[in-house]
Symmetry: C2
Subunit: 124 residues, 2 copies
DNA sequence: GTCTTAAATAACTATAAGGTTATACAACTG
DNA sequence: CAGTTGTATAACCTTATAGTTATTTAAGAC
């Protein structure tokens, strides 16, 4: 089903696994920003941030353009939507699964009540 | 906002970054399974699968119980819901962002039309 | 041209991840 | 008890990740 986008999902989830990169995405959710603007809040060198941005770009989570010396970054929402879609799909499947389990438990309880009722009837 | 659950999210997304582990979760969405049952579809040793399960368990995505020698694994939906929640939150934020951008583009187009209309009027 | 600023790249280090095989442990079977 | 099955752990190897500092490239400013 999702083998086609599997390697893309690999890269996406791997990119999301780092708190610095999630913070960068959170910042970009409020609008475009340059590398040095993104680097400012972090106790980390500029090359380190550039590496993180490369990871995010490779994962398709951001894209970069050119504005003089600056390289403004912006979000690419579709990739995140894909990851979100994967999660939602399986959440759905196993919510159904849990619903079935609940139904089963209800049935078991009902059987238990019947059993006790019969026992009580015999005891009379 | 989400600093409290940050390290949990680290582990969750890192766990989801591996296709073998995603396949294991997909399998578990259909119900409980033992280690050897989970290992069967993969061209990989049993210890490798045990490691993957450890990662999934550490991330809180699965839990394990005991049934004689077997160690049945089952999904823990809440953790996935948390990851899903993070994604959905930022999707929402930047969809608003894109909506604003769309509005801005519409405005720019409108201005452009006006400009052209004035030009045309003058040319008459 | 030279100087400055913004970002990327190179080279390196330390640690983590993902796999292997061999071995140990835990629980049932006869 | 010995044997078998299911799983975990140990030791090891290779590659990837996340950071560093030093250097280079790209674009503007003077």
């Amino acid at each position: 089903m999702h083998t086609v986008v599997s390697s893309r999902l690999d890269a996406t989830f791997a990119a999301l696994a780092d708190p610095t990169r999630r913070a960068i995405l959170a910042r970009l959710a409020t609008g475009e920003a340059s590398v040095s603007e993104l680097a400012k809040p972090f106790a980390m060198s500029q090359p380190a941030i550039s590496k993180h941005l490369k990871v995010l770009e490779y994962a398709g989570l951001i894209s970069r353009s050119r504005d003089a010396q600056r390289r403004p970054c912006r979000l690419e929402p579709q990739t995140l939507a894909d990851a979100s879609g994967w999660l939602d799909h399986y959440r759905e499947v196993w919510e159904q699964n849990f619903a079935r389990l609940d139904a089963l438990l209800d049935e078991m309880k009902a059987q238990e009540r019947k059993k006790r009722a019969r026992k009580k009837a015999r005891a009379k």
